[in-house]
Symmetry: C2
Subunit: 127 residues, 2 copies
Amino acid sequence: MPDSAQPGVFEALGDPVRRRLMELLAPGEQPAGALVTALQARVHITQPAVSQHLKVLREAGLVRVRAEGTRRLYAVDDAGTAAARAWLARFEDTFAQPLDALATELARGRRDRRRATPEDGTAEAAG
Amino acid sequence: MPDSAQPGVFEALGDPVRRRLMELLAPGEQPAGALVTALQARVHITQPAVSQHLKVLREAGLVRVRAEGTRRLYAVDDAGTAAARAWLARFEDTFAQPLDALATELARGRRDRRRATPEDGTAEAAG
DNA sequence: TCCTTCTATAAGTGAACACTTATGTTATGC
DNA sequence: GCATAACATAAGTGTTCACTTATAGAAGGA
């Protein structure tokens, strides 16, 4: 029974700017520059500030990076979000728990089967 | 599409002491004093500090209080935890989503039926 | 009544943190 | 080679925040 699965997951999500970054990444992979632009459309913030926030999210396992030329493509990492959901699961309604466990099992089975089929290549999560 | 359903939910969960308080409340209702004692068994902390943490959790909708004599009985409030899970749900695996929705629906039905039965006495109205 | 218990609030303080500007690093183009 | 673009890191600073001690308030027992 870990205090909270991944270290720093909830600390990372505690900041509104970082939550907004997660929301911006929810539809799919985004270069760091696009995240900066999107944030600046709403609030005044500089590029280094965003970069530092992304570092926190990275270290918490909430996002992962992929280099493409000079750009850094960020995407949501399931490790962190799953850890957060796992911690919160204990407060779920008692009656919902077995059902969620079932849902998780079924989903895992489907996902594994899908990954075992090397056909659809670069699969993007649809929003 | 709210930034995050309940105001301050993730900010509240960002502190490890407050997460520990939530864990201590997970099994069920606890008086504030018991929470202080339980925390002090692990780390050095004073009663006012715990009281302030509980206030933050209260204002975030993560816990609710019930007065019984001179004691204050704290319990997990579904409003806050559900809000946190709702926000995190958008990062869930695509295939798991419909199943979770089904689970939620079924659980709600069961819960409502249970609440419609005025038998177990001290039923608190959920927000 | 007074006294004790349980909990919340007030006030002050040190540390963590999110921000800024300035600079470094890496890849591409001329 | 040099210049530019995209992003990360360094260094410094103000504010937030979690903590402390001290005190207030409410309920129960003598």
